[in-house]
Symmetry: C2
Subunit: 347 residues, 2 copies
């Protein structure tokens, strides 16, 4: 199904916790009618955040968004803890009263709110709580080892280093190179972009590997390669369990290591120190091996904030340190990295 | 609070899925009035399962259990998938109508059943769904690194190798050696035995490390050592995420490696092959290091089913292979293993 987005960023457009909005703006195949943000209303997105490479108007009211053709309101800010600010409710109510769909990636679910459910029913609107897990997730059983596709997982040194972006960009590069590929979404933004998937961090812990396996087993049988979006990091103690469950459950044949240039510690408490890149790579290969041998095929380096020359130097340094093809997918290196993955898959 | 148990094993007394019953029979400090099992009714537990080292009558009706003083009905069988068989309901209803407490470690919750809740209220009974997580589990923040106690975690090569038993036995050995210690329960049986804890496999995946941290931070401040019950195995792909989240969240200073003698593969599909014991030990130390250096202090070998001589040989072989003190806590080796842990903690 196709949507026309109105994306709520609520004053936070240029901040990191609007990353759901940024991901959808950049990668959704559906039209973005407008952004709803009182701090930037009247400007255009291309002026505020040119790096997102999509130009849409920024408006101050839901009404304006609707007049631009929006049929879906996306709550685009990840609040701390994942709970919904009270004042968002008025926008949600207004959207539902106008028969719109409301898409929510937060931990708190709109469809648990009887009033909102009633409004949606009355006016022909819809509620999509992206993080609500499907009811039928099984325990991991090993079936993901038997799917016909080749499975590639993006893994990383930390959160927010680009695992989702790299999976999407590599899927597109694979398609461009003639390989039918599918992006397998495992986090709320990825699920919104793909229109399907499971936010595995919201699943009961015993079922994370089973959820990953289910995603792999229910992928498009016509695809040749699955690009599985990684989550968290083995070195981020808050999320390492999700990372490992997803790695084992999805049973990859190859890994892509995602890392932020010059980062040496996890960016949240307790600021765990990161091992050197070659050691992180060998640890990931060691842990993946429980299920299947999965070499790291290349390094996807996030060089955000560096100028072109500094980015080139950072890439060359990692290449020398690891002996692996390295590049930044947001600087045009996705085809180069995909070629490295394809070599490993056909070896 | 103190309970007097009537433990439902429902025909499965001697089978592996009665492991909740076995654990409570062996380790609960409360009195066990009787077991409720139609296959063995009229016999005594000491004749059916002498290895549990507690002798109680086995009865066929709830009435008989009550006449022996039971005030709490424990559902003692872990059904496949964790769902409750329909015919248990009659026993639960009868227990509640008699004002008893019903303790349930399954994934399906009794307190979600309005009829059972009403019966408990009417007759002064209680429902304890052991696996229901507390509502206030935070994300991991690193506070577990700051508690004054020394933290010891049991970790293992597979499920059901003895991680809970080893933690309890080592806590008792520590107490006997004059060290105030606390068993920190992380699975349903452990929680029932300890009367507190969190079944971490039932927590939303993002909060596993936070749950482990909460348990460590809320432990008895008078204790010197915490013995944290491990879950799953890094080599069991269905549960490895829970294992790692718990390992990182609890921030141990030392590990005890639990293994079943002569086992070389995970016992459930896809029957992952286990690496050699020294390699498993070094991998555990590698993964623990993200949060804090935690050497494996000793190996707790489960030699169940072996005769005394074969058990001795198995223990010596692991000792030679790893260079670590090795023993079976159910063959009297807990003091020996505790001494090894104490040496590491004081190093």
């Amino acid at each position: 199904m196709s949507r026309t987005w109105l994306i709520l960023t609520d004053g936070y457009l240029s901040e990191r916790n609007a990353k759901t909005a940024h991901g959808v703006v950049r990668y959704s195949r559906d039209r973005v009618a407008a952004l709803l943000d009182h701090n930037y209303a009247g400007k255009r997105l291309a002026d505020v955040m040119p790096e997102l490479e999509r130009d849409v108007p920024i408006v101050a009211t839901l009404e304006e968004g609707r007049s631009l053709g929006a049929d879906t309101l996306l709550l685009g800010v990840a609040t701390p803890g994942g709970w919904m600010p009270d004042h968002w409710r008025a926008w949600i109510v207004e959207a539902l009263e106008n028969g719109m769909e409301v898409v929510n990636g937060l931990h708190s679910f709109l469809s648990d709110d009887a009033e909102l459910v009633r409004l949606a029913e009355e006016h022909g609107g819809r509620l999509w709580d992206v993080r609500r897990p499907p009811p039928d997730i099984p325990l991991f059983s090993g079936k993901s080892l038997e799917v016909p596709q080749k499975i590639v997982a993006t893994v990383g040194s930390d959160c927010a280093v680009g695992k989702k972006t790299v999976a999407i960009e590599l899927a597109e590069a694979a398609e461009a190179a003639g390989t039918r590929s599918e992006f397998v979404a495992t986090g709320q933004t990825g699920v919104i972009i793909a229109g399907r998937g499971i936010a595995v961090d919201r699943v009961i812990a015993d079922f994370v590997a089973g959820a990953a396996e289910k995603l792999v087993c229910e992928s498009d049988p016509a695809s040749e390669v699955l690009l599985v979006e990684g989550q968290g990091s083995l070195w981020h103690p808050a999320y390492s369990g999700v990372t490992l469950g997803l790695l084992h459950g999805s049973a990859p044949h190859a890994l892509v290591f995602c890392h932020r240039a010059h980062h040496t510690a996890i960016e949240e408490p307790p600021f765990t120190k990161l091992p050197p890149v070659p050691e992180m790579i060998s640890t990931l290969e060691l842990m993946a091996r429980d299920v299947r041998d999965a070499p790291v095929a290349c390094v996807a380096l996030n060089t955000k904030g560096l100028d072109g020359e500094a980015a080139r130097q950072a890439i060359e340094a990692i290449e020398a340190e690891t002996g692996l093809p390295t590049g930044d997918v947001l600087r045009g290196d996705a085809p180069h990295l995909w070629a490295a993955v394809a070599r490993v898959l056909s070896a």
